[in-house]
Symmetry: C2
């Protein structure tokens, strides 16, 4: 699949006006208009779509960022926020006639309050740096996307990012308790707070995972979690994904909630071995990486039970990491899996879908059928514990029609997820890539309700437009509102508003 | 304080039209228009405000409920939803010219799926009945308001109710994963779902705790939690609340998260003893009720540490419940505390505020000072673990000015909470009672952002109007939106919309 490139736009008067505001407030290096440098921001982790922004600004603080948004609002210029640009759904894809607001210079951890289990961070702070800063106090930040060494908290908030350990600890939304938020007209409002509940609407929950379409978070208060007394990581080899799936179900049914249960199938194992020599069991049709954490006495008891349940479900090899190096190697195989697939295929699509855990065997079987009937290879890597699949659909773009065939299989996998009561994305977001699938999951009324909220926050549709919703509407077009005797309709103006 | 009674309204044509729709669809007993019977619904658990509704309907299912809302929307008739009416902030206070929609006939548990840790329930289902239905499978529903034997899940969702065990397990919002939701124009939309994350906006989070102002939930998918292997309940006596507060901090700082840490002061203990003879330690200035749950090996280890930390902080008596009867008696003292205060005072206000746990000693000292300077007695009962205070402000309405003095102390306590970085409600909601305090916590921009969302869901302001927000606006009046070049403003119509 060739990348899709936008036309070079003529710079609009609006862009000039926003650039002038930015030049007045930001250091020179923070305002980028040179075409060659603009191009370095043309895509995020989903490189399939490429659009060069008309202007890039790199604010140093929340006040500068809000001023840029205010200028955008005044001149109706679209804007897109970007953290580290590691997203996999094109959520940070620039707008050709818009401003890209990059948060990479907003990297301060502004407060570390272990006594309250809270930290306050700017949006450009790297995920793993929160944990690094909290560790000396005995705490860490739990949500751990595979990209945690490089992805930013702001991006995590926008996408409600998950990770291997979200099975036990929940997603980003479960760890964000407060935020300063710049609305689409440049106002700054406080959402949530340090208290366990805030009066009024929980707009923080709606903002987390809204993929930049409601505004931009400029400061985030996150929950810190106590470092566990003990962590045990176990690598378990099975002959088949069926066996590994059955073991997963048995563990959860026994009432054990491991910190993580990750599964990889034979093709994913092959790729990981080729790339990082992670020494996974020879000849395994599937492996599970199971991590238990908590109080030592509890971990020890759970470990005995997990070992027994894996054996009962056909495990032919179980290896407990005996030291941090061994543990890191086990995780390296899993966390490198996406990139590693490049070793066995020139091109691939990383898919992201969710199914109820109990549907795992049927869905894996259906994916295998899809693969064999289409001749498109699919490697499976997933968060087995919470049913979040990451099928890697392999193809060679040099072969004519291969990209389209892969795209078709990839879409069919999402249909499978929906059919089995699941969802089109577990943690990568909708972004640009999956907007077209939204109507398969939601009714028109469901989508209209979401669009009403978007219109409330961003009536001019300037905050990351074109993402999440398949058919953006002019605000006021949303049907079904102002039915009855509302004066707007009586005046015949319902079409306008 | 005399209850405030509304004027008897002339029934409007709108009410007649809604009643006609209800009569067509509902059984005869489900449409109440008789004035004497209407009066039985005039208040919720906060009996200070009383308003007789113009019409009461008791739908049997979601379709009937949606049809009633649709009729209300068509005729611009305000409506209020009511579950069991146990709320303490007047959230279910009727509207004098509106319809009260009572969910007490929607009490089906429509699905029980322990294998997925999910149950699906109608809004009238009693909180404790979910646990009763899940227990045979080894599960329970975690959020446990003190009123859990009688309060409804629909009310819990509206108020984002908490309870003693929310310290470890979180509030209602952490246990609701999906809902069917009837919007203010009578459409039904699906929010959330069974998957751990849903694409698009998390409107479910915004709806939970919105106190009926966005619409009505007609079906809720809740998370079930595994019954713990062991539960230990410990009653600990201290000489002072300072000591008990220090013990609480020490326990949390040690990285232990008990299922509950509840505190009662001397006056609250006196009331509970008088009412339910719970046999709390003689002469205690404060007691803690600490509950540990989880795997037996872990509970045992934590118990040893909690015992040591309490002793170090001055505990003069520690009693471990040795059987279920003893355990129930310990909890009975705590859970009856509000009602028990009636034994030592003819009238009282139940206050609800939150402070950071670390501010506990200063705030309790300040409340004591308020009490002694005003001569108004205050009994303190609270969820110490998460800093959720429930001061009980005692007075005798027969004494002139006593009600006003109590009201003043009660309001001053909320100011203390805000000053210390806390919140005006921990779990009882804003409702009618605390709308006036919202501007003390939030800026105009913060409140405007919430009102924008209300206007998106309910542009005609018919869904539980007058609650939560101190100064409801005509939708479209919210300032700061449509700044700049929006066509509505150019046409000079901004005042209308």
């Amino acid at each position: 699949m060739a990348a899709q490139e936008s036309e070079v736009p003529a710079t609009t008067p609006g862009i000039e006006a926003v650039a002038a505001v930015a030049r007045r407030l930001l250091p020179e290096a923070g305002v980028i208009t040179d075409r060659a440098r603009l191009r370095t921001y043309e895509c995020d982790g989903l490189a399939h779509y490429r659009v060069t922004p008309a202007l890039v600004v790199v604010p140093e603080d929340a006040a500068q960022l809000a001023a840029v948004v205010r200028a955008c609002a005044e001149h109706l210029v679209p804007y897109v926020a970007r953290g580290s640009g590691t997203g996999l759904s094109g959520g940070a894809l620039p707008h050709a006639e818009g401003v890209l607001i990059v948060t990479s210079r907003m990297r301060a951890i502004t407060a570390m309050r272990p006594e309250d289990q809270r930290a306050v961070v700017e949006p450009g702070v790297i995920n793993l740096d929160v944990t690094r800063a909290a560790t000396p106090y005995g705490y860490y930040y739990a949500p751990d996307p595979s990209s945690q060494q490089i992805c930013s908290i702001g991006g995590n908030v926008a996408e409600n990012s998950g990770g291997a350990h979200c099975l036990k600890y929940g997603f980003t939304t479960n760890h964000v308790v407060g935020a300063d938020f710049v609305t689409a007209d440049g106002d700054t409002v406080a959402l949530g707070g340090a208290a366990p509940d805030s009066p009024g609407y929980d707009l923080l929950g709606a903002v987390v995972g809204s993929e930049g379409t409601l505004g931009i978070v400029t400061s985030t208060t996150v929950r810190l979690v106590r470092l566990p007394e003990e962590v045990r990581t176990i690598l378990v080899g099975f002959e088949s994904t069926d066996q590994a799936g059955a073991a997963t179900s048995a563990i959860i049914s026994a009432g054990i909630v491991p910190a993580a249960i990750e599964m990889m199938d034979a093709l994913a194992i092959e790729a990981a071995e080729a790339a990082v020599h992670c020494n996974y069991p020879d000849g395994a049709g599937a492996v599970l990486v199971i991590e238990l954490d908590g109080a030592s006495v509890e971990v020890e008891q759970e470990y005995a039970e997990v070992e027994r349940l894996c054996a009962e479900n056909g495990a032919f090899e179980q290896r407990l990491a005996t030291d941090p190096v061994d543990r890191a190697l086990i995780w390296k195989g899993r966390k490198s899996a996406f990139a590693a697939v490049g070793r066995i295929s020139p091109d691939y699509i990383v898919q992201d879908g969710v199914i109820p855990r109990t549907a795992l065997p049927q869905v894996l079987k259906a994916i295998a059928d899809l693969s064999s009937s289409s001749g498109v290879r699919v490697a499976n890597v997933f968060h087995a514990g919470d049913g979040n699949l990451h099928p890697l659909v392999l193809f060679d773009d040099a072969v004519e029609g291969a990209g389209e065939a892969a795209e078709k299989v990839s879409g069919a996998i999402l249909d499978l997820c929906i059919e089995h009561g699941g969802s089109i994305t577990g943690e990568h977001g909708v972004g640009m890539d999956k907007a077209k699938y939204m109507p398969r999951m939601y009714t028109d009324d469901d989508l209209d309700t979401m669009q009403m909220v978007r219109c409330a926050f961003d009536p001019d549709n300037i905050s990351n437009p074109g993402k999440v919703f398949p058919t953006p509407r002019l605000c006021g077009e949303v049907p079904g509102r102002h039915k009855g005797a509302h004066p707007a309709q009586e005046a015949g103006l319902a079409e306008v508003f």
